[in-house]
């Protein structure tokens, strides 16, 4: 597989926490910080998406700037002097973590607990009556679940669904301010929306607000255990594109499918078949298995999951 070579880029030098770092021109401050071995927390940053810089947890102090800069989107400029661990930067990160953790359920957000510890954030100090986004999870199809009580409004799902990858535009941010939330038009169920169940929004969700139905049910049942899961990358067998699939397997059953973000074909994106059409490989298992069987939505994938709805032909329309 050939990947076109980029023209050589000039290196520029910036200073990160007092140390010079050389990065190719066009790199972001986050790239430079990574190159310098700094661990900057990020939430709304996605390696396959244009930075939205909405969460502000990656802010760093740039010398001479009035406000802090989001490392994920600010381009490195020659001579820039960046402080990643200054008091101001750490303070803002701490408050952002407190604001988020007091608002949304971060229990399934990777590294959130670690950062809260590291920055000494105390989300409980806003009191018992602090407003939250707590709400019941939206379970309106058999493939994936939207649990917006975990949503931090990072816009990544909207970008993945919209003009950055899928071009389906099934979801958008609706409302304003604290009442803003990810929504289909008129808050309609996904089955009435433009959703094509590619699951690319699930792939980029940083908090687990969007998850496979299989994962959601297993978490509810208490049987989800990532330490017992293996990840196997293979090639999707549905069509000739040859997308890479990473099968997450627990107890010899596929529980989730992702795709490597660095794959030049998929960039982490899949279609409904690759993402959710795995059930047929394990239908041989006993129906009494503890893991709930998640079949695809019959209406949206009829024909793509052979035999999933045997005998489900409806009566003729006129009779």
């Amino acid at each position: 597989m050939s990947v076109p070579l980029q023209p050589p880029r000039r290196l520029i030098e910036i200073t990160v926490d007092g140390d010079p770092v050389r990065v190719p021109e066009g790199s972001t401050v986050l790239d430079a910080c990574s190159a310098a071995g700094k661990d900057i927390p990020t939430l709304c940053y996605g390696d396959t998406l244009t930075p939205k810089n909405a969460c502000r947890v990656c802010v760093v102090e740039v010398e001479g700037a009035r406000t802090l800069a989001p490392a994920c989107s600010r381009r490195a400029e020659p001579g820039m002097v960046v402080g990643t661990a200054t008091e101001r930067a750490r303070h803002s990160r701490k408050i952002v973590l407190e604001l988020l953790a007091s608002t949304a359920d971060l229990s399934t957000t990777p590294r959130a607990a670690e950062w809260i510890e590291e920055y000494g954030a105390r989300p409980d100090r806003f009191g018992e009556e602090a407003a939250t986004v707590a709400q019941p999870a939206k379970v309106d199809n058999d493939l994936y679940v939207r649990d917006y009580s975990k949503c931090i409004l990072c816009y990544k799902c909207v970008d993945a669904c919209g003009d950055q990858w899928q071009n389906s535009f099934a979801i958008s941010v609706a409302g304003r301010g604290f009442d803003a939330m990810i929504s289909t038009e008129h808050d309609a169920p996904l089955t009435d929306s433009a959703c094509v169940y590619c699951g690319n929004c699930v792939e980029v969700c940083p908090t687990g607000a969007l998850s496979f139905k299989s994962e959601f049910d297993m978490r509810a049942a208490g049987s989800w255990d990532e330490s017992r899961q293996t990840e196997t990358t293979t090639i999707c067998s549905y069509c000739g594109v040859g997308c890479n699939l990473t099968l997450h397997v627990q107890d010899n059953r596929i529980v989730k499918v992702s795709s490597p973000h660095d794959n030049p074909v998929t960039h982490g994106n899949l279609c409904i078949k690759g993402r959710f059409g795995f059930q047929h490989v394990q239908n041989v298992a006993s129906q009494e298995d503890a893991i709930p069987v998640s079949g695809p939505v019959s209406s949206s994938v009829s024909g793509s999951a052979p035999g999933s709805v045997p005998g489900a032909r409806t009566a003729p329309a006129d009779g």
Partner: protein
């Protein structure tokens, strides 16, 4: 994009409203009647998608006609404009003047913001609630309506074929209607009757008997209509001549539904002319306000007789580079609040190789306590048309957008009229003044969102997206509206260009101080004897301004400078010079020129709560520090107003610092300013205050 629509159909009226704005659909693909011929045409590509910027005016068209936007109407708009329904829903729910839930055609917006709060908004709110029931349906509390000199104020918007608006200022509970003293029944009944009368109000020239229809289109509704309606307005304006128009327009300033008996909740009265807001009107020392109250705002001839269009002639004489040089040398800085040198902005835009360049005039004046731009647009609309033309000439923009907040129906009507007349007289259009440059102005109407006054959010709003600020860099001078180099200026900033060109940069810079040249408009409101817009040279002190406006009505407690994003000064600090550098040195800001006077009758904690509520309501929700921080700030202030604790003050400081440091735009960055200054300078919530 692969659009998927629902089965919801628009009603005939909704369809008519949208078609009146967009024209009839040509194919079944766009929601017209399906025919076999549709299978032979493709509707798509850039041509179909390039009309996204018509989304906001299309939503207005439905909201103006029906009062709210139904599923079927939204779907139809999306078909017409090739916009994904989810995105259109996101846009419709962003603006507070729109509703996606059914509501009555007439909605009363009762201002509960700072200036009105200081002058009895609570009583208006209570009496409205008694008569109309809980907020949400036929009435709703509103952020500042920009009618602060007439506080407490309210604005009724009436949907219908001839949408109308009624301004209540000062809003007083209506005398009990003679027929049925029981409020809500009478209110609902009178809605339709009022609507017919109010057509005069927004509709501009609708007052003249025979021209009802044409006149209405040149008003608020027609403001958005680019093609047909504009032309009708222009022709009738030019044809009828100044005099006829003048009469119609002076009616604008006056009655609206005065004949209607048993008004809904508030006493109706004539809306006073614009100069009512200018206590200094007629004073020969005025520069920016000199024509307000002197000229007929409808008459281009009046405007020219008072020196109008001399500045544009001078601009053409010295050329674009000459104009920029004059503006640079004048030392003019932006009056919207950020005080960026205007000449540098123009120069940077003019130099960009990418074309076309755009001009955006920011008239989304929504900072609580600010109403100067409204007074200029209502009292001297041609000045803004001329100033925009000069700015466009200097920076090479063939098109300018005038973005006026939706709460300013009279300003929209007058600007629409002025633009039509200027176009008809060759002062706008393909060949301005016969000088070989093209420039035209399109009015865009906001729909209730403070954030759209942010210099990049305004681009998203015009383009038909949610009015969320963009991250900078890139700055507007490189990539602004439609991704092109854009110069965006406030109304007051632009009209300053007229005296600069008319008298020369040196004469202009002779007024004011070294760091702040020229004169400044101050919006004096609150508990003060003579509220209004005052014009003073930079460098005058706050004490002089207060003396001019008759002083506080009671014992002065504090003055809020710069609005909700500004800072308080104490009665012992009144000698602060009103300049950008002077206020900064005193730890406050000039902001947009708000001078909100608070005497001891005003509950300061209540004012702070209103400020916090304002930012919570108006945060766009994009970034975490602002979206959640403004909520936590309001929660802490509620706790503090019950029982001051050091812990909550520390909490406010910490959250405030993070909002200031880490928010994307100025809204979040300044959301804690006023609260901080009240705590630090006025000692609100200090132990002594608490006891």
């Amino acid at each position: 994009m692969d659009l998927r629509f629902s089965d919801a159909e628009p009603s005939a009226e909704e369809r008519a409203a949208i078609d009146a704005f967009l024209g009839a659909p040509t194919t079944g693909w766009e929601g017209g009647i399906r025919s076999d011929g549709d299978l032979r045409v493709a509707v798509g590509g850039h041509e179909a998608r390039d009309r996204r910027d018509l989304l906001l005016p299309a939503l207005h068209a439905v909201n103006d006609r029906i009062g709210w936007i139904s599923e079927g109407a939204l779907d139809y708009i999306c078909r017409r404009l090739t916009v994904p329904p989810a995105e259109a829903y996101g846009v419709a729910t962003f603006y507070s003047l729109f509703s996606t839930k059914p509501r009555p055609a007439r909605v009363l917006h009762v201002c509960t913001d700072l200036a009105c709060q200081a002058r009895g908004a609570d009583a208006v709110r209570r009496s409205t609630e008694e008569r109309l029931g809980p907020p949400g349906m036929s009435w709703q509390p509103s952020p500042c309506l920009g009618l602060c000199e007439r506080a407490p104020a309210a604005l009724a918007l009436q949907a219908g074929e001839f949408p109308g608006a009624t301004v209540y200022g000062p809003a007083e509970p209506a005398p009990a209607p003679t027929g049925g003293a029981n409020g809500s029944g009478a209110a609902n009944g009178s809605g339709a009757a009022n609507g017919a009368d109010q057509a005069h109000d927004v509709g501009g020239a609708a007052g003249t008997s025979g021209t009802g229809t044409t006149g209405t289109t040149s008003g608020a509704g027609g403001a958005d209509t680019t093609s047909g309606a504009g032309t009708i307005g222009a022709t009738s304006g030019a044809g009828a001549g100044g005099a006829g128009r003048a009469q119609d327009l002076s009616r604008l300033g006056g009655l609206s539904g005065m004949d209607a008996t048993g008004g809904p909740a508030l006493a109706e009265r004539a809306e006073p002319p614009a100069e009512h807001a200018v206590p200094q009107a007629g004073d020969p020392s005025l520069v920016l306000l000199r024509r307000v109250g002197i000229v007929d705002p409808a008459s281009l001839d009046d405007y020219r007789a008072e020196g109008g269009y001399a500045a544009l002639r001078e601009a053409v004489r010295i050329g674009p580079a000459g104009v920029i040089r004059e503006v640079l040398e004048s030392g003019l800085v932006g009056r919207g609040g950020a005080a960026f040198p205007t000449g540098r902005k123009w120069e940077a835009t003019a130099r960009q190789l990418d074309h076309p360049h755009y001009l955006v005039c920011n008239a989304d004046e929504s900072e609580p306590g600010t109403f100067k731009d409204r007074v200029i647009m209502e009292g001297d609309p041609y000045a803004l048309v001329e100033a925009m033309t000069i700015a466009a000439y200097a920076t090479g923009c063939p098109k300018g957008y005038l973005y006026i907040r939706g709460e300013y129906p009279r300003a929209i009507g007058r600007m629409a009229h002025a633009i039509d007349v200027a176009r008809a007289r060759g002062l706008l259009g393909a060949d301005v003044m016969g000088q070989g440059f093209a420039f035209d102005i399109e009015i865009r109407r906001g729909a209730g969102a403070y954030i759209c006054g942010e210099e990049t959010a305004i681009f998203n709003s015009i383009e038909g997206f949610r009015g969320e600020p963009r991250s900078k860099p890139p700055f507007p001078v490189e990539k602004g509206l439609f991704g092109k180099p854009t110069v965006v200026n406030n109304v007051e900033t632009l009209v300053n260009v007229l005296p600069i060109l008319a008298g020369g940069a040196a004469a202009y810079a002779a007024t004011g101080t070294e760091g702040s040249t020229g004169t400044k408009l101050f919006c004096v409101s609150g508990t003060v004897a003579k509220p209004g817009v005052y014009e003073l040279p930079f460098g005058a002190t706050l004490r002089e301004l207060l003396t001019l406006s008759g002083g506080a009505t009671g014992t002065l407690r504090a003055v809020l400078l710069g609005g909700a994003a500004g800072g308080f000064v104490r009665p012992d600090e009144l000698d602060v010079p009103l300049t950008f550098e002077g206020t900064r040195a005193a730890g406050t800001t000039l902001g947009s020129g708000v001078v909100l006077v608070l005497d001891d009758s005003v509950d300061l904690a209540h004012i702070l709560l209103r400020i916090a509520e304002f930012f919570r309501d108006e945060s766009c929700g994009q970034c975490v520090p602002c979206r959640v921080g403004t909520v936590r700030q309001e929660e802490a202030l509620h706790r503090l107003s019950r029982r001051p604790t050091a812990g909550d003050i520390a909490l406010l400081r910490e959250v405030g610092q993070a909002m200031r440091d880490a928010s994307i735009c100025g809204l979040g960055q300044t959301a804690w300013n006023a609260v901080e200054s009240a705590i630090d300078r006025l000692g609100v919530f200090s132990p002594s205050e608490a006891s």
